[in-house]
């Protein structure tokens, strides 16, 4: 590639004419080569005055809540943890497959450990049902064990990123055609035991889910916020 065509390409990336592949190529080059990074930045700076010519429009009232909810659900997945870790992982992307296998192995080990710990440490709970709650990406985020007296042990399998001024609320559907019923809040953002009265004993295939709700719990007494994870109960084989 001649010098001139690289400059052409950089300009085309900046004004939006380059293909996605070319954009990715230039970004990669800039990551490795600070001289190219500087050229890219110079080209961006040249055109940036045009961004200032756009109208300053009013954001919709819920924009922050929408973003905060997205961040909460995306971080609840296993993808990144806190953003600083993304940098640590970047060099390992080439070994992605190895990472995946390790991740799946670690996940399986975590679940095994959680199940074993849950059963040994809380043997007094005597769960009649157990549900593994999965997030939108299908990753396990919590283990729910329900006992006959509707004592429910919730074990989080990773630290959830709860948005400011929100709380995790645990729900179940005692009747698959009926509305979800709150089992309680996890205010400390940690695993906990919840107790409710007046519900039928939990049964296999009963739905459990955790949502993010405003402090104090859902104002409507029905799930309103984004779902951290959900799953159906199974009867454990002792």
């Amino acid at each position: 590639m001649t010098e001139r065509s690289l400059d052409d390409l950089i300009d085309e990336v900046v004004i939006g004419l380059a293909s996605e592949e070319d954009c990715a190529r230039i970004e990669k080059l800039a990551e490795r080569d600070s001289e190219i990074a500087a050229r890219l930045d110079r080209a961006r700076t040249r055109y940036m005055a045009l961004d200032e010519t756009a109208d300053e429009l009013e954001l919709p009232a819920q924009m922050w809540e929408r973003v905060a909810a997205d961040i909460a659900t995306k971080q609840a997945s296993t993808e990144g943890g806190n953003p600083a870790e993304i940098v640590e992982l970047a060099p390992a992307i080439r070994n992605r497959n190895r990472w995946r296998i390790m991740a799946i192995g670690a996940m399986a080990a975590t679940i095994m450990l959680a199940v074993v710990l849950g059963w040994t440490l809380n043997s007094r709970l005597e769960p009649t049902v157990i549900a593994v709650l999965l997030d939108a990406q299908g990753q396990p985020v919590a283990l729910v064990e329900g006992a006959r007296n509707n004592k429910t042990l919730v074990t989080l399998l990773e630290a959830a990123q709860v948005p400011d001024n929100q709380v995790m609320q645990v729900w179940t559907k005692p009747n698959s055609d009926g509305p979800p019923v709150s089992l309680g809040l996890l205010p400390s953002e940690r695993s906990g035991v919840l107790e409710v009265r007046g519900l039928p004993s939990p049964a296999a295939d009963q739905l459990y889910e955790i949502t993010f709700e405003p402090d104090g719990g859902s104002p409507t007494n029905l799930p309103t916020g984004p779902i951290l994870g959900k799953g159906f109960a199974k009867t454990p084989v002792f």
Binding site: L17, M48, D51, T53, P60, V67, D70, P83
Partner: protein, 178 residues
Amino acid sequence: MSVTNHAALIKACANGRQSALKELMEAEGGRMLGVARRILRRQDLAEDAVQESFVLLWRRAGQFDAARGSAKGWIYTILRNRCLTMLRNSDREISVDLQEHEVASDDFVLEAAWSRLDAASDLRVCLEQLEPERRAAILSCYVLGYSHGELAGRMKAPLGSVKSWIRRGLKKLRECMG
């Protein structure tokens, strides 16, 4: 008026401080929506693009390196890339055959952008040295997100010659702005 320190706020995002992201949204969100609206034309799509950009900004904050470029440029690059991806994935391919009213509204947006562009800026001074058609073509790429194909459609010219014609314009601008 307080001056926003974009780089410090991005760094705070990387450290998990959500209030920093909120501060960035208060400082830049409105302008970002304006930029997105020009490219995507529709308010709902523009709002989605801004929302997704702030989520990306949060997740990629750890990758931002102030030594490698301006913080504001980094933010707007994320936004512009998001908008362009949405645009290219949408059905605006029909714009190769722009309707008359669309041409008129695009011209209006371009006019506004041109008239607001700081008269003292290097970009303005150098764009003024280009022929009006070439200037309008380059502006419609940056401001409206036109692709080579859309330019060729609008100018009723072959794709290849439009590409090299634009490239020559970009080169002149580079030489002018140094």
